[in-house]
Each structure stands twice: as structure tokens, then as C-alpha cells.
């Protein structure tokens, strides 16, 4: 069973091939094939999970991929608890979202191509998590980047979509360079890029090199996972169709950074500095995402910043090292369920509201969309960590572990994580109130294309996946946490989970304090948005904090000032230099040569006498020069 695990990748890869190469001929049944391949992969994964023992990692060598002198890269897969966990998440949630897309994309002329891209994404993502070397991981890493780029820019008619796709691509490149450099460093220092060899040899390197590798990997992780300072592309990526946002930009691809750090656990275990920086990035980003999430009116952008914030939690967790790897993965899984469900819910709302995303134009939708409301509501409760729903188990465990850090770190990271939970309660409650409750503001409004709003529930092909995900949102946390099931399952991959001996706050107090803060945030949101009518127009007279949050806490301005503007000036300078300096020199040289050619030509008169004279002159010079050399 494990020996044929390449089938996992082969199904969606074949699907992508058929759909993208087959062209219009496959239009009629393309979406069905797209779903079937992913469901087949999911079925195979479940069968593998049930039938095989995953107690230790199995490397499946497929073929010699890059045999170049000292660089020998085998294309192989690593089957272990960590990769299987991801495979089940990717194919499971992926299959649901594929099914959902049949309904969501029903009216889109390019639906078959859409499914081709989605299949490509799934195949790449599986290569990313299954590969048994960093180079194979890099292949998948770039593959998902490509699929993400293609799908963000799906609506080719919208300039904003093109810009967002380009932005995602460019910012990801920054991270990819980090990852590539890390791989180069591994190769030059260890001589191999396979997990087995790298993890076996990493201990012999100097601490500085280990830290350098860890930090470069972190740069890669930040790019893919939308972590500070490379977070700005992720909210813009919401220009893509909503299923894409759910699958790629919430549940799976953006968590690749977390996977990378967890996978590289043997490296991070050796460098305290590297881990600390991961933790700092995570803690900072979780607050940043949560604060910005409070200010947006675009339902998908709020969810996007929520994703940024939640991945911050995961990074924070894996940055804690042996105290947190398994917790980060657990939160990743539960988040995969409830965030995908929330996005699908948002998509369902948009589907019924003429693709409107501005929450100020919603309101009172719970009556019109009962199933969407119910599933969305469960996802919401899971996200804010409502007791005994899945987010409660996974997030609370991270906050506890953060408080377990030594010294000031415990207070700072624990405090940040707990504060983030409170803010999460606020912005998610605000979102739910503005969308599903309050006055039906859409009655007096028209959508951008002039149609009236007629909110309606989505078809079953869309609601069924939402229901399944809602069940996951409710039960997954309990299921994973019961008897530390997931933590023990993952132990062969990331090591056993260590428990902090004492925490900065009393152990028993933390969960209840967290829940209390969340509910307090929700209460504040209700006071502002639930009791009063929400204005349709966006208030302009707001506090500086709100204004800053609305401007993404100046993340884009920061990028602009630090990278874009200097880059632009460098480019201009280079172009100027090229035009005036290089081209000038080249053209001048060419002109000089041409001119001298024209003048020299006149020496070729056609007269034998002048030819003979030039020969004679040459002979004199040669003999004279020879004698001068000899006798000087």
C-alpha cells in the first residue's frame, strides 16, 4: 500500500493534465473528473491510514531525479504521521471544496479550466508534503505558488485581480529565495538535500550555519504563510474565487510554512535563536492580523486577516519547539476545518447576494440562508474558541504552551496570544452581526451591476460540504485532543510533546481566562454593532487606531517605502545607466569602428603599385623590428 503511495499524487496530476491539455473537449464532464481524482486520492489516503502502520517514517524511492555529479536528488516520498496528516487534510477538505465548486462555478464559462488548476494545486500540495527531500518540497512549493497565482488572477477581466496575482507572486518569490538559499546552504554544508541525510548531518554543523538555515527557512515560511513582513499579499489574494480562498488561502497552502517549520524540527531543535524568531514572528503576526481584521468591511478580507492571525498562532506554537510542534499542527487541522467552512459560508452568502462582499450591505440574512447561517455560526464559535468546540482545544493548548515559556517570554507570548483571542472574539462577532443580524440593509440597495438583491439559500451541492465542514469544526478538536490522540500520533515525526513545568499564569486559570476574554470581545462587538444600526456608508470620522487598521497598519506603505520605491529608483538608475553609459559606449564603439573601416578602405586602392608599397613597408618594419628586438 505504501509502496504505491505515488498514486496519491498521480490522480490529481493526471486530472490536471487531462483537463488542461484536453481543452474544450472535456468541458462537459471536466468538473466531475476534477472531483473524482481528488476523492480517489482521499480514498486511497484513508485506506493507507487505516491499513498501514505509521509508527515510523517510510521513504519510498521512486526514481533518480537530478543525478548531477555531487548533487544526487532522488524523487521519493516520505510516509509518516506528519505527511499523512497533511495528505488527509488536503485531500479531504480539497474534495469537499471541489464538490462545492461545482455549484459555485456553475455559471463560469471556464469551469473546466478552474478544476484543472485546482487539481494542479492538489497535486503540487501533495508533492510538497509527501516529498522526502527539500528539493522535492521546493518543487511542490513552486507548484502551489503557480496554482495560487493562476487562481488569484482567475477573473482576468478585473485589473485588481491581475494586480493581486502579481503581488502574491512577487512577495512569494522573496520567500522562495530564502527557501532556495536554505537548500543551497544544506547542499554545500551537508552535501545532500534529503530529509534523512540533512537531519542526520545537521548536528555536525556550526551553530551559526544552523541558525542561518533556520532563518532562511523561516523567510520561506513567512512568504508562503503570509507572516510578517510578507503578509500583505494574502488579503489581496481574496480576489480569487471563494473556493480558492477557502482551499488555498485558508486551509492548506498558506499553512505550508507551518509544515516547513514542523518538518524541519530537527533543525529548529538545535537553534534557540531560530525558534525564538519564529515565535516572535508568529506572536506579532497574530496581533497584526487580528487588529486589521477589526477594520475591514469586506467579508472575505476580514476572514483573510483572520487567517493571517490564526497562522500566527500556529507559527507561535511551532516556534516553541518540542513544546509546540504538535499543537501547531493540531491548530492547523482544526483551523483547516472551520476556516474552510467560514469561507464556504462567505461564498454562499456572496452567491446569494450577487457576489457582493461589503458587509455593510448585508444584514439579517439568517432568515434567508438558514443552513449557511447555521454552519457559519458553528465555524464562528469554533474560531473564537467557544468551549468544547474545536478551536477551544487547539488554541487554548497553544496559549498554555506560550505561557510556559521561560522568563519574560512566557508573559509576552502568552499575553499576546491571549489578547489575540480577545480581539478575535471582537472582529468575528462583528462580522457575524453585520452579516446575519440587524436590519436588512440590502432591501434599499442595488448591487454594483444594478440588480436588486434577492438573498437565497445555496443549492445542496454547496451546502452539503459546508455541513460536513461544520461537523468537523465542532468535533475535530475534541476528537484530536481526547487522550492526546493527535499528539501521540505525530510523535514519530516531530518528537514527543514536552509539557512546561510551570506556567506564568496558573495552569487551570488560562482556559477560562481565554474564554472570558473572547466573550468579552464578543460582548463589546455586540454593544457596538448589535444594539445599534450599522451605517451603510463607511464612517470617515474614526479614531487613529481604526484608520491605521484600515490601512493594513501601514504594511503596504512599509513595503512601498522600504522595497518598492528604492527598487523603482534602482531600476530607473540602471535603465539610465544602460541607455547613456552602456549603450553610449557600445554605439560609440560601433560608430568608431565603422568610421575607421570607411577610412581604412581608402587604402585598398586597387593599384598594384600601392599594394606592393604596403608590402615593402611591412617588410621593412618586420625586419627592423626583429633587429631592434635582438640588438636593443
Amino acid at each position: 500500500m505504501i509502496a504505491s503511495s505515488w498514486l496519491l499524487v498521480a490522480f490529481p496530476a493526471l486530472g490536471a493534465l487531462i483537463l488542461l491539455v484536453g481543452g474544450r473537449r472535456t468541458d462537459a464532464w471536466g468538473h466531475l473528473l476534477g472531483c473524482a481524482t481528488v476523492i480517489a486520492s482521499f480514498g486511497y489516503a484513508v485506506a493507507m491510514f487505516v491499513s498501514s502502520s505509521l509508527a515510523e517514517a517510510t521513504d519510498v524511492a521512486l526514481y533518480s531525479w537530478i543525478p548531477v555529479d555531487a548533487l544526487q536528488v532522488e524523487f521519493g516520498l516520505r510516509i509518516d504521521p506528519l505527511s499523512m496528516t497533511f495528505v488527509l487534510l488536503i485531500t479531504g477538505v480539497g474534495a469537499l471544496i471541489h464538490v462545492y465548486s461545482i455549484g459555485y462555478m456553475a455559471d463560469d464559462a471556464g469551469r473546466r479550466r478552474f478544476f484543472g488548476y485546482l487539481n494542479l494545486f492538489v497535486a503540487s500540495m501533495l508533492v510538497l508534503v509527501l516529498g522526502n527531500s527539500f528539493v522535492t518540497l521546493y518543487l511542490g512549493w513552486e507548484g502551489v505558488g503557480l496554482a495560487s497565482y493562476l487562481l488569484i488572477g482567475w477573473y482576468t477581466g478585473r485589473p485588481s485581480a491581475a494586480t493581486a496575482a502579481k503581488k502574491a507572486f512577487l512577495m512569494n518569490r522573496v520567500g522562495d529565495v530564502g527557501l532556495a538559499l536554505a537548500i543551497f546552504l544544506m547542499f554545500s554544508e551537508i552535501g545532500s538535500t534529503s530529509y534523512a541525510a540533512v537531519f542526520a548531518g545537521i548536528g555536525d554543523l556550526s551553530p551559526a550555519v544552523i541558525t542561518a538555515i533556520a532563518l532562511l527557512l523561516l523567510l520561506g515560511a513567512c512568504g508562503k504563510s503570509g507572516q510578517f513582513p510578507l503578509q500583505a499579499w494574502l488579503p489581496d489574494a481574496m480576489e480569487g474565487p471563494t473556493p480558492v480562498s477557502a482551499l488555498i488561502h485558508a486551509a492548506t497552502m498558506v499553512t505550508a510554512g507551518v509544515y516547513l517549520v514542523a518538518r524541519a524540527a530537527p533543525i529548529y531543535n538545535l537553534t534557540e535563536t531560530g525558534r525564538l524568531l519564529v515565535t516572535i514572528v508568529g506572536a506579532f503576526t497574530l496581533l497584526l492580523g487580528a487588529i486589521i481584521g477589526c477594520a475591514y468591511d469586506d467579508i472575505k478580507k476580514v476572514l483573510a486577516y483572520s487567517t493571517v492571525s490564526q497562522i500566527g498562532y500556529m507559527m507561535l506554537a511551532v516556534g516553541l519547539g518540542p513544546f509546540g510542534y504538535a499543537l501547531g499542527i493540531m491548530h492547523l487541522l482544526t483551523h483547516g476545518f472551520f476556516k474552510a467552512g467560514l469561507f464556504l459560508g462567505a461564498g454562499s452568502v456572496m452567491h446569494g447576494m450577487n457576489d457582493e462582499v461589503d458587509m455593510r450591505k448585508f444584514g439579517g440574512l439568517y432568515k434567508r440562508m438558514p443552513i449557511t447561517f447555521a454552519t457559519f455560526g458553528l465555524g464562528y464559535l469554533a474560531l473564537i474558541g467557544f468551549p468544547f468546540l474545536s478551536g477551544f482545544y487547539s488554541k487554548d493548548a497553544i496559549i498554555e504552551a506560550a505561557f510556559g515559556s521561560e522568563g519574560w517570554q512566557g508573559w509576552v507570548f502568552g499575553g499576546a496570544a491571549m489578547l489575540g483571542a480577545g480581539i478575535t472574539g471582537f472582529y468575528m462577532t462583528r462580522l457575524v452581526l453585520m452579516t446575519f443580524f440587524g436590519k436588512e440593509r440590502w432591501r434599499e440597495l442595488k448591487s454594483a451591476d444594478g440588480r436588486e438583491f434577492h438573498p437565497h439559500e445555496s443549492p445542496p451541492v454547496m451546502t452539503v460540504p459546508m455541513i460536513v465542514l461544520a461537523v468537523g469544526s465542532v468535533g475535530a478538536g475534541f476528537f484530536f485532543a481526547l487522550g492526546d490522540r493527535l499528539v501521540e500520533f505525530l510523535a514519530p515525526s516531530v518528537g514527543a510533546l514536552s509539557e512546561a513545568e510551570h506556567t506564568a499564569l496558573p495552569h487551570a486559570l488560562i482556559p477560562w481566562l481565554t474564554v472570558g476574554l473572547s466573550l468579552f470581545g464578543a460582548l463589546v462587538a455586540w454593544l457596538i454593532f448589535g444594539r445599534r444600526d450599522v451605517p451603510v456608508e463607511r464612517p470617515q470620522n474614526v479614531s487613529p487606531v481604526t484608520r491605521a487598521a484600515r490601512n493594513d497598519l501601514y504594511g503596504n506603505a512599509l513595503n512601498e517605502a522600504l522595497v518598492a520605491t528604492p527598487g523603482l529608483w534602482t531600476t530607473r538608475f540602471a535603465v539610465y545607466l544602460d541607455n547613456k553609459g552602456v549603450d553610449g559606449a557600445v554605439n560609440g564603439l560601433a560608430a568608431a569602428l565603422g568610421g575607421s573601416s570607411g577610412r581604412l578602405r581608402r587604402l585598398q586602392t586597387g593599384f598594384v603599385r600601392s599594394y606592393a608599397l604596403s608590402m615593402l613597408g611591412g617588410s621593412f618594419l618586420i625586419v627592423a623590428a626583429l633587429l631592434m628586438v635582438r640588438f636593443s
Binding site: A590, L593, G594, S596, S597, G598, L600, R601, Q604, G606, V608, S610, Y611, A612, S614, M615, G617, G618, S619, I622, V623, A625, L626, L627, V629, R630, F631
Partner: protein, 524 residues
């Protein structure tokens, strides 16, 4: 001049030992040339062409077979025969093979009558241009078949030239190869005046250069008391002789050799003669004369003047630079394809000289390889040039080549490939040739010269690529030239050149092995 030479033999003249097997290729070629002259005298007119073509091709093939048979069990160090006047060693054998193969291609071009009725050659060279008879013979299908024995004589001279181990033999070989060439230049059927002018110019300047060569021999004899290369080398080791004689003689000798190799500043004849001569003859000269001249130059420098290389190297540096500069810069403004290739050959002569100056095994094998590669490329290039024609014969003005790819894509592609080979682009023999020559020079401490050579390669690449651009990206001229369908002979010659150019570019190892098989025979 001969008296002291004879006196040296001690009165009684011994019959020299002759290794007939070793010199059999030369004997076959020269013997067949004599037979050709007799055939010309006794055969009726209409039988001459087929018989001469058959004889010439057969001769070259037979000489090749004799060469191949000898190479199989030739002594590794090489031998000298005919009292040490002829050396048959690895470089000589390689050059003979090269010369025979190139001559085969050239003869195919010469023999082709499909492109122009009656071939590229005039029926009666003695008729003055522009007269009534002259105009009448343009439309006749007769052809001066003496060109075939003349070619064989020239070929025999070239082969002897590369194997000559003393300066007098070398001089005689020089004349044997030159005199037929002077004649052949004047045989063009079209544009008779310019053809005859070329022949006269080549003859006058050639005679001038021969005088320098001969004077150089005299001085070297005065220095060393012998004309044998080995004796001169031995004499340079002594200290009590007049170095004035040595270096003046060396300089004049070089002038003669550099003239034949069309190295600047002794290149002035090249453009005029290349342009005026019938194109098949130009192909023969450009390919074979260059090989012969540099073969002899290599032998003289390696065998006789190796120990004085530090004295003369600086001067030859300057000569190489002048040649590369003249060829590359003057080539930029040429408007005639044949003149352009002529300037390209001057630039290539400079590159060859760079390799020749590296008195090392790499320098020798690199230069030999370069000669082989350049010969075939330039042969095929002139073959292509002979096909592009308008009403007045070959359309050699560059403007006529505009947009050629639209009318004749295959021809344009072939010519592009050959131009890229001349420019030295990878996957062609030109690249490998430049690479081995320059790397040999580099490892012999001539880095600045290599840099200069690379700069001029880049300059020269411009005018090759200009033709490519012209052929592919310009609109064809309204009444542009037509491209003749080549006959079997021309097709075979062009194919031979292109295949060798490609083969040496992709798989150069086997030819490099042959070229590096051994050094010059040093014993006399």
C-alpha cells in the same frame, strides 16, 4: 647557389634514399597532373571534360587511399626522405589529408556545369575581353579543361610545401603551387576584365613576395651555411654568427609565407583576387592555400626557429593584431560577399597566427584543427555564393541577398550556419577551432593577445550576422537574383563542407586526436 650546396656533399653525389611509400600521395598527384597535360594535348575536344574530371577525382581519391595505407604503419616520430629534404611526419600527414579532402570539394565545384552552361570557366583564355569572339564564347558551352591538371599541379605543390624540410624545396613547392593559381584566377567566364586583373595582380605581388622569400633564404644560408631547417635550428644554438643575417633572413622569409597565408599587412591582394577569380577557384585558394601556407609556417617556426622564439614573438604579435584588425574592421563596410569573405579570411589568418605562435603541442594541434575546420567552412561558403545568380552571373553584391530566406529558405539556412561557423558560435567547428587555438595561446602566456583576438572575433561577428539579418529580416529586392538549383557536384561539395563543419563542432574529439598525433620530424 647550388655549387656550395653540392660541395658540401663531398664531391661524390650519392643517390639519395627514397621512401616511395611515404611520398606516394605526392607522386600520384603530380604524376596525374602530367598525364592530364598529355590528355589535354591528345584527346579530342568533346572527350576532354569527362576524362579530365574523372582523372582528377580518381587521382585525389587514389592519393587519399595511398595516404591512408601509409598512415596505418607510419613510424610515430615521422621520417625524412630524399636526403632529408622532405619530412613525412604526423603534421604533414594530417595536412595532406586535409588538403586532399578540401581539393576534392574544390574540384567538385570546379567541375560543376549545371549552374552555368559550360561551367564557370572560359573556353579560350587568350581572347581579349569585350571583343566579338569574347561575347560569342559566353554563350558557348566549351570550357578550358586545363584547369584540372593545373589544379593537380597546385595541389601537388601545396602538399610538397607542407612537407618541405629545407628552404629550397619549400621555395620550389611555393612556385609549383603559385604559378597554376595565377593562371586559374584569370579564367572566369563572366566579368573577364576583373578576372584577368586579379590574375595579373596576384602574379605581380606573388612574384614580389617570392623575391622576399628567396632573399630571406639567401641570408639564412649565409647565417647557417645550410638551407635545411634542422641545420638552421642547430646554428641558432651557436653564438659566434651574425644575428643580423639570422633575423633579417627570418623576417624576409616570413614575409613570403605570410603573403601566401594572406596575413595582414601582406593581405592587400586577397580581396581583389578573391573577388575577381572564378568562385570555385576562390574556394580552392581560400581553403587549400591557407592550409598549405600555415602548414609551412608551422614547420619553419617549430623546427628552425623554436629556440629564438622570444626574439621574434613580439613582432609576430604585432602582425597577428594587424591582421585581425584589418580583417575585422575592413570587413564591416564591404558590400560584396566575396570581398567580405576575403576580409574574413584575413581576420582568420590573424587567429591562426595566434595559435601558430604558441610553440607547444597544443598550439600545433590546435592550429591544424583550425585549418581543417576553416577550410571546409569557407569551401562550402563559396559553394553557396556560386549559386546566387542574376542575369549577369553571380550576384555577389550584398543588396541582392536581401530577403533571400523567403525565396530560398534552405540555402539561406545553410549559409547562415556557415556564417555562424565563421563567427565561431558553439556547435560549429569554428567555435571549437577558436577555442583550442586560443586556449593553447593562453597556456603559453599570451593572455593579452587572446583578449585582443576575442575582441576582434566579436567585431567580425557583426558583419557575418549582418548578412544573416539581411537574408532573414529584409524585404527581397524586386528583381533580385535567382537561386540556381545546384547540380550533384556542387550539392556534394556544399554538403561535405556543412557536414564537416557540424561534425567538428559537435564531435571534435576524433579530429583533435588526429591533429595531436605527433610533432614534426626533427632528424635530418
Amino acid at each position: 647557389m647550388l655549387n656550395p650546396f653540392l660541395a658540401q656533399q663531398g664531391g661524390a653525389i650519392e643517390t639519395p634514399q627514397i621512401d616511395y611509400a611515404a611520398i606516394l600521395p605526392i607522386l600520384i598527384v603530380l604524376g596525374a597532373a602530367c598525364v592530364g597535360v598529355l590528355l589535354e594535348a591528345f584527346l579530342p575536344k568533346h572527350q576532354r571534360w569527362p576524362v579530365q574530371v574523372g582523372l582528377t577525382l580518381l587521382t585525389i581519391v587514389a592519393a587519399g587511399v595511398a595516404l591512408g595505407a601509409y598512415v596505418g604503419d607510419a613510424p610515430e616520430q615521422g621520417i625524412t626522405t630524399l636526403s632529408g629534404t622532405v619530412a613525412v611526419d604526423a603534421p604533414a600527414l594530417f595536412l595532406w589529408g586535409t588538403l586532399l579532402a578540401l581539393a576534392l570539394g574544390a574540384v567538385l565545384l570546379i567541375a560543376d556545369r549545371s549552374v552555368e552552361p559550360g561551367g564557370a570557366f572560359v573556353a579560350q583564355a587568350g581572347i581579349s575581353p569585350g571583343t566579338v569572339q569574347d561575347r560569342a564564347q559566353v554563350s558557348s558551352t566549351g570550357m578550358q579543361t586545363e584547369v584540372f591538371p593545373l589544379t593537380l599541379f597546385a595541389l601537388g605543390g601545396m602538399m610538397t610545401f607542407t612537407a618541405a624540410n629545407d628552404l629550397l624545396t619549400m621555395f620550389i613547392a611555393l612556385e609549383v603551387l603559385s604559378l597554376p593559381l595565377y593562371l586559374m584566377c584569370g579564367l572566369a567566364r563572366r566579368r573577364r576584365l576583373i578576372s584577368q586583373e586579379a590574375a595579373v595582380k596576384y602574379f605581380l605581388l606573388g612574384a614580389f613576395a617570392s623575391a622576399f622569400f628567396l632573399y630571406g633564404i639567401a641570408m639564412l644560408y649565409g647565417y647557417a651555411g645550410s638551407v635545411r631547417l634542422a641545420d638552421i635550428a642547430a646554428a641558432t644554438a651557436g653564438t659566434d654568427r651574425s644575428d643580423t643575417l639570422l633575423f633579417a633572413g627570418f623576417g624576409l622569409l616570413m614575409v613570403g609565407l605570410l603573403f601566401k597565408g594572406s596575413v595582414g599587412p601582406f593581405h592587400t591582394w586577397t580581396p581583389d583576387v578573391y573577388q575577381g577569380a572564378p568562385t570555385p577557384i576562390t574556394a580552392f585558394m581560400a581553403a587549400c592555400t591557407k592550409v598549405a601556407a600555415f602548414g609551412a609556417l608551422l614547420r619553419v617556426l617549430f623546427v628552425a626557429f623554436e629556440s629564438t622564439s622570444w626574439e621574434w614573438r613580439g613582432v609576430l604579435w604585432a602582425v597577428a593584431i594587424i591582421s585581425m584588425a584589418v580583417g575585422a574592421i575592413l570587413g564591416l563596410t564591404q558590400t560584396d560577399v566575396k570581398r567580405m569573405i576575403a576580409y574574413s579570411s584575413i581576420a582568420h589568418a590573424g587567429f591562426l597566427l595566434v595559435g601558430t605562435m604558441a610553440i607547444t603541442d597544443e598550439g600545433l594541434s590546435g592550429t591544424l584543427f583550425y585549418l581543417l575546420a576553416y577550410g571546409f567552412t569557407t569551401l562550402a561558403a563559396f559553394g553557396v555564393i556560386s549559386l546566387v545568380r542574376d542575369a549577369s552571373g553571380e550576384a555577389t553584391h550584398l543588396s541582392a541577398w536581401a530577403g533571400l530566406s523567403k525565396r530560398s529558405p534552405l540555402l539561406a539556412a545553410v549559409f547562415t550556419f556557415l556564417l555562424l561557423a565563421l563567427a565561431g558560435i558553439p556547435l560549429t567547428s569554428g567555435f571549437v577551432g577558436k577555442f583550442v587555438v586560443f586556449s593553447a595561446a593562453l597556456s603559453d602566456g599570451m593572455a593579452p593577445l587572446v583578449v585582443i583576438a576575442l575582441v576582434f572575433s566579436a567585431v567580425a561577428a557583426f558583419f557575418y550576422l549582418r548578412v544573416v539579418v539581411l537574408m532573414y529580416f529584409s524585404e527581397p529586392a524586386p528583381e533580385g537574383p535567382t537561386v540556381s538549383v545546384p547540380g550533384a557536384f556542387t550539392t556534394a561539395a556544399i554538403t561535405l563542407g556543412v557536414v564537416v563543419t557540424l561534425l567538428l563542432g559537435v564531435l571534435p574529439a576524433f579530429a583533435l586526436d588526429w591533429a595531436g598525433a605527433g610533432g614534426f620530424a626533427l632528424s635530418s
